[in-house]
Amino acid sequence: EFRRFSLERSKPGKFEEFYGLLQHVHKIPNVDVLVGYTDVHGDLLPINNDDNYHKAVSTANPLLRIFIQRKEDADYSAFGTDTMTRKKNVLSNVLRPDNHKKKPHIVISMPQDFRPVSSIIDVDILPETHRRVRLYKYGTDKPLGFYIRDGSSVRVTPHGLEKVPGIFISRLVPGGLAQSTGLLAVNDEVLEVNGIEVSGKSLDQVTDMMIANSRNLIITVRPANQRNNVVRNSRTSGSSGQSTESSLPSSTPNILGSLLQGEEESDEEDIIIEDSGEPQQIPKAAPASESIESLSQIELLHESTQNGFLPSSEMNLNHSAGSISMEYEVPEPGRKSLEEDGTIITL
């Protein structure tokens, strides 16, 4: 359901006021909701404090698209799903560094909103010709989506050039995780899987290793296309669609380190159901709420500056069919959005 209303750009006010306004507009005074907005890059970012509220308002040109979502069935992963790599950049660009330093205690977002994403890691310790990629599969329905094959590569050995057998990526499944990250390509030679060298292992062994590590797969490859290699000591992306040096604390001193870290992180705890009760993780951990629920959508219209001003106390919600954009990624059963009767509220 959509609501369109207006705000004064210069005086956005406090987040609490805005939150109250939203509840009022939607006639959901006692429902906890998560508020998010789409930034210029089309990423869904949260609004949960004054700073990011102000930021959101300031970035609106002229329309600020706001999404609200019922808290208990919120899909945290919805934030930044589409372009998970870009989200990082945007975040770090958007938040002014000094501001960030001054108020480190500020809750930027819910902890659940942060999660590891697929990335290139360990750039500083690997030879330039190698690339270590962490494929992080998290809740998404995307398959890992690649195939490996046997092959041979030419190596320089003490005895001259020698052909040695190796494992290569043979195919990327369109729409799969491997392809969507852009970090792996066909004919890349696989050198390591989660810190373990694959040389001397059979195709089936390597397959089993990758599948066993599929929750947190770290593969080191020698890319077939060496031109896209990461340029050292630079913080810019090697090529579009790739991000380097993600904000993850993943730079590890050596292979063993990365292996250990990999182990810890891949330790998704087994689940136990006692006496037909609730499933719990072993050892005890917070129950994961993964159900994807409804997204209710609001379009917040800022009157353009040409129109002069809008009273801050007044919300002008206009119905504008043209501006509705359907952003539902929600499956059918999730359609039971917030209960509301009136479709349009005009203040």
Partner: protein
Amino acid sequence: MRRFLRPGHDPVRERLKRDLFQFNKTVEHGFPHQPSALGYSPFLRLMAIGTRSGAIKLYGAPGVEFMGLHEENNTVMQIHFIPDQCQLVTLLDDNSLHLWSLKQHGGTSELREEHRFTLKGPPGSPPSATQVTAVLPHSSREVLYLGTESGNIFVVELPSFRVLEDRTITPEAVLQRIPEDNCNRRSCELVEALREHPKNPDQILIGYSRGLIVLWDLQNNKATHHFLGSQQLENLYWQRDGSKFISCHYDGSYSQWPVSSDNRQAEPLENTVPYGPFPCKAISKIYWQTTKNGLPYIIFQGGMPRASYGDRHSISVIHGSQQTAFDFTSRVIDFFIIFSSDPAAEFDDPSALVVLAEEELVVIDLKSAGWPAVHPPYLASLHCSAITCSHHVSNIPLKLWERIISAGSKQNLHYSSMPWPIDGGTNIAPDPPQRDLLLTGHEDGTVRFWDASGVCLHLLYKLSTVRVFLTDADPNDNMNTLGEDEWPPLRKVGTFDPYSDDPRLGIQKIYLCKYSGYLAVAGTAGQVLVMELNDEDAEHVVDHAEADLLQDQEGYRWKGHEKLKTRDGPVRFEAGFQPFVLVQCQPPAVVTSLALHSEWKLVAFGTSHGFGLFDHQQKRLVFVKCTLHPSDQLALEGPLSRVKSLKKSLRQSFRRIRRSRVSSRKRRGGGGNASEVQEANAKFDQDVLQEMELAPVQRKIEARSAEDSFTGFVRTLYFADTFLRDSSRHCPSLWAGTNGGTVYAFCLRVPPAERRMDEPVRAEQAKEIQLMHRAPVVGILVLDGRSTPLPEPLEVAHDLSKSPDMQGSHQLLVVSEEQFKVFTLPKVSSKLKLKLTALEGCRVRKVTVANFGSCKTDDYSENDLAVLTNLGDIQIISLPFLKLQIRYPCIRKEDVSGIASCVFTKYGQGFYLISPSEFERFSLSTKWLVEPRCIVDMPEVTSNNHVHKSGTENAARNS
């Protein structure tokens, strides 16, 4: 932290490991795969079998076994023992000759290859000039006569294999002595047979394939006699006194020829076509054995009427008016007769006929009336029906052992009481330390009980489950009822019968409780039978129950086989294991796991749909649990073989077994044209190879998800008396592990013994553990407070085990294909884990707890996990700390059927199939080692060999 826990090198532990673990492949049990040649030494009383893979195996008295392997891995075509020597010569299909000898070394005899040799013709001669077709080791032990395709007979000195060119017998030399009018150059092509005169070592009989037979005098280098047969010659045999010989022919006839000094060109005394008058197949080998009563034994291979019985593999024995054609289910490779080898004896007096068929060894007692078969103590055809599963039980109590033997002896009444006639060599291996049983389940619904204590795998008892069911072929309907007047007088012998009437009867899981004698077997059509050992025949009704594993799941349709129909009314069972309860799973999918608790009188079974618990005391189903994932359509549809994602290894193993059967069948159909069949086989193999190469060798990398098919497939079931709910009270429990990495634990309430029949057994689900890596759970084990695995049911009651520690906290070990995990009990929290696949890329295929004793001290032993991986490696992993102790390569990783068939024993030994018919036995323990240790006495060699021969031979036999 983990870094510091990595396997260090503790010197004490390293030393202990050397005392505990050692890997050896010790002995091959069963029947050699694809035998191709047979040899026998009446002097050593040893039999030799060569195979198509170049192996040569010698057998004597039970326990006397030797094995050798030709480097070339070529087919062994012929085996000839050197008379009165511990030596033999083999001819391979690459025309190479190899000299092997048995030498004593460190108190035991060993078979070693001494020399090899390939006959070389003059430069420019065609290869056929030197292609060896017949080998005659001369009784002088100095030379070997080699008949070739070109008709030349080369003389080779032993043991140097030096060709004595001046002694070569050329066709030209032979033809010189023969009147030209009835002979031409071509009649001397291809030497079919070479036979030394039984009385005069200076004369040899040469048979050429076109029918010309020449008696050659070695001293004077001339033909003293020649005989002209009209038919293509197959083989020759001297009569004992040297006055006559027999020739057998391609047209199914044999002739008797007199050798007298006056008649230089003889006519046959007798020419007979035993199965005439219609065209017959060739008689490829013949024996003429004299007896005291004057009636000879004429024993020959083949000769059946071509049109109606041309496909039979037969050996006929004619003795006076008695005539029997022994009919074998597989191709006859070769045969020999055991007869009096004392040269002073006037008659042959044959005692036994030994036939090597392609799939089994059959020995016929010729002394007893009716010519019964002799039960072989070794070379058992494990694959008389294809092996579908195996189960090993160590340390059988004597009582049960005797009862099984007595049940088995009642089945073996039709066997001859003759002692095993091949009794050369002496078994000097110590008696096996304990009685071990290996149970094999077969495709035809039988379970065979093998004595696996020692070197000879010996069949003790055979159990058939067919009687419980109604099948198309009634087991009482004997296929063998041929009337007396039937001609030819065929008699089926042997046990090899690869054709299963109904594949649903196949046995998939076996569990034997050695203390109570309860046996549970489960099969392909979801049938679970619980049996009890009964020493008497009995007729009773088998209680029948059905377990609907789908329960409330709806909308599923089973497209697989139907369940087996049961027999109504009482069924007669012979003494032995008699079923009293039958549970049939619905849908009737193959039973994938089975557990029996003989103390609680409960049996648990699982399929791809779920699992159930049955109380076999009250004969009541306690509960069923559906493990099926709602989206798993595949599991519902039908037999496993139709589903792509099912264990590839299993399927391939079956296919491999099938393939070998198909090829053997083809061979039989080919009617003995070996080269043609080989060609066809080679082509077949090539096709298969090509097929494999065409398939793109790439593997999909995909995370497992809960929606994968066959997640509900129950892989393992386990009974344990442990702390499931709280740490103060322990209770019986049932654990189940699935293919999707789920572990279910059920709390059981078993009424006390006095009210066992009155109160129902109750079960309640207590726990469900989902392993996040979702790999199939292949083993579940509870360790007691001292970290030792819980004892088997009734083990404590029989004072054979310390009672488990119920004071300390118990631990649960879950073994998935990828990881080993230890959890605490009753509150499940993760304690320890060992990742296998994530680090090494291998997966667990088989896992067992094995007890390893130290070879140095008697009082130290420990329990470890013996693990077989999909790479064919065996790893030993310590308990309870899950540290890799040692790793041995054991099975080729391509040998999926070998890996699938592997079974470990409780004391660190194991078996796996190296062919459909052979188990390789291996040992991981320094303490428990079963290997052949035997000695063959080297007789003194004197010039007067004839007299001396019998003397030393008797001595050898007596020693």
